[in-house]
């Protein structure tokens, strides 16, 4: 049985109560909006890319603790990284949010994900979300919005 503590880890509640990198960035920072039409969650990503590096990122918006803490954790994880590293982190996180087939307990039990978890650092706190399938879209909203922002910037 999925336990509520797997979902609401202390790190998640901390990032929900005190979100990091919250606010707006003026142009030339790129602005991208993300919506979850099902629950009304809304996220705006401001991304500043300089010389192939995501030199600054800020977020605004509203939503549940999972979507808000995930966006806060994401911003801490990707700020100052090269675009290549950012894309890698996004891919690793998205992998974490995909439960391996045939196991109900999710990615945490998966051996290949152990590597991912170490690489993800604080982000690993979100690993429990995968046990609550309807909340996965909450956790991935910010990440999908950032992906869209990077695609728009490189287009």
């Amino acid at each position: 049985m999925a336990n509520l503590d797997d979902l609401y880890r202390e790190i998640i509640l901390d990032h929900y109560r005190s979100p990091r990198n919250r606010g707006e960035l003026a142009p030339p920072a790129h602005r991208t909006e993300g919506f979850n039409p099902l629950c009304g969650d809304e996220i705006v990503v401001y991304a500043l890319v300089e010389n192939g590096v995501l030199s600054d990122i800020k977020l605004t918006g509203h939503g549940c603790s999972i979507s808000q803490s995930s966006s806060s954790l994401m911003s801490s994880a990707v700020k100052g990284k090269s675009l290549e590293q950012v894309r890698e982190t996004i891919a690793t996180f998205k992998e974490l949010m995909t439960a391996p087939e045939g196991t109900s307990d999710g990615a945490v039990e998966n051996s290949s994900s152990d590597v991912n978890l170490r690489r993800l650092g604080e982000l690993a706190a979100l690993a429990g979300v995968v046990k609550f399938p309807v909340r996965i879209k909450c956790a991935t909203l910010a990440w999908n919005t950032l992906t869209q922002a990077l695609d728009e910037i490189s287009a």
């Binding site: 049985m1 509203h62 549940c64 603790s65 909340r135």
Partner: protein, 411 residues
């Protein structure tokens, strides 16, 4: 049943035996869909076991039985609603949303002209908004909204002005978010005084308040079976017989025609004109059983019971949470039904519902398909608890226990 007892009703609901996350289920989502009594399930089962056949024009025994079951559901609906013209005024659809689309595409598209106004309210479900917007795009009608006041009731201050050019007033009898019971008889009179027709969204009211179409004096009423202890897949459009006769068909196909040739078709008369294709026959069997069940309980008893539950919950929410949990809806139980939308300070409705689920409590987070209303009150979502005839004070106990946990967890 001579005396209404919610504990006996609960005993009739097999799903009440479910255990969720180690706790007995606390079902507080009847506003989205009500739970199903055993007699309703058995009626559908009996149909499939003994009478299953397609309806109409069959000559053999079971086909006649299936037809009798299906047409009998029309009689049940007419009796339950006290429809002035009887069963010929009952059209079956697949849900209340389809009934609204039927109303807009058949009556609306045929009778409304560019510039004609359909007046709805700010507290309507999307089902009573979007089909009119679609008609605005295709036929150039205007859609106007009766505002909702800070007291969560319709603000009728400027109603005379709003009524200008109105051909149809379409308003819910009870809000699916606020619980507000609207003055529908007053609105029906107002509509008629201005030469307009009046439609009622009864989706939330039919299972929780007595309905009397003769006393109401409306022209259309719409609801669905699954919110009144019946099965999913069956909706109702009631309309006055003379209006139904004047309306063109909705969907085309088998069952809705009198004649078809290579030159064209002549539509069937009566409700069949609007019921193309094989209808929901098993659901009709279940619907009749649900209506009988509710009639057995007595809708006035159901309403009184849910009013007690709501009053108790509102008092305790105010006492135990001292403002940390805000009810988005009227405080006066005379003006509302058992739909309680909650805004918990500092806790997103999805998180509220997630924590409540851990206690086996089923509530609905979200915008409840009423985004204009949510915007009106500056909310993205609420967590909504809603009662049914099987609800008990002990359900409220568990709700409050789980809410306390949610508040502490995020506080």
């Amino acid at each position: 049943m001579t005396r209404f007892d919610p504990r006996l009703v609960r005993g009739d609901i097999p799903l009440m035996n479910r255990v969720i996350n180690g706790r007995p289920i606390t079902y507080l989502d009847s506003g989205a869909s009500s739970l199903t009594p055993r007699s309703v399930i058995e009626a559908m089962d009996r149909y499939y076991q003994n009478h299953h056949a397609n309806v109409h024009r069959g000559v053999y025994q079971t086909a006649n039985e299936a037809t009798a079951i299906y047409e009998g559901a029309r009689d049940s609906a007419a009796h339950f609603l006290n429809a002035p013209g009887g069963s010929e005024e009952i059209v079956f659809t697949k849900n209340a949303t389809e009934s609204f689309n039927l109303l807009a595409r058949s009556w609306g598209a045929h009778f409304l002209r560019p510039g004609d106004v359909v007046l709805v309210s700010e507290m309507e479900h999307h089902a009573n908004i979007v089909p009119w917007f679609q008609l605005r795009e295709s036929h150039g009608i205007e859609v106007r909204f009766i505002p909702v006041g800070d007291d969560f009731r319709l603000d009728l201050t400027n109603i005379e002005e709003l009524m200008r050019g109105v051909k149809l007033v379409s308003v819910s009898a009870m809000s699916n978010v606020l619980g507000t019971i609207n003055p529908i008889r007053e609105l029906a009179d107002l509509a008629h005084a201005h030469g307009a027709l009046f439609a009622v969204d009864g989706a939330q009211s039919v299972a929780h308040l007595p309905t009397d179409l003769v006393a109401l004096d409306a022209d259309f009423m719409i609801f669905s079976a699954h919110k009144m202890l019946g099965p999913t897949g069956l909706g109702v459009l009631w309309a006055r017989e003379e209006i139904l006769k004047s309306m063109p068909p909705f969907l085309g196909g088998g069952g809705m025609i009198k004649d078809v040739s290579t030159d064209g078709f002549t539509p069937a008369s009566g409700p069949a004109k609007f019921e193309a294709g094989t209808p929901p026959i098993a659901q009709a069997a279940g619907f009749t059983a649900a209506v009988r069940y509710l009639e057995g309980l007595g809708m006035d008893h159901v309403a009184a019971h849910e009013k007690d539950l709501t009053g108790d919950a509102l008092t305790r929410l105010a006492l135990e949470f001292e403002g940390r949990v805000r009810v988005i809806g009227p405080a006066d139980t005379e003006a509302r039904g058992g739909v309680i939308s909650l805004d918990v300070e500092g806790v997103h409705p999805h998180d509220v519902a997630q924590v409540l689920d851990q206690f086996g409590v089923c509530v609905r987070p979200g915008h409840h398909c009423a985004k204009p209303l949510m915007k009106r009150f500056g909310l993205a979502a609420t967590a909504r608890a809603s009662y049914g005839p099987y609800s008990l004070v002990s359900d409220t106990d568990v709700l409050l226990e789980a809410l306390t946990h949610a508040v502490e967890m995020f506080g």
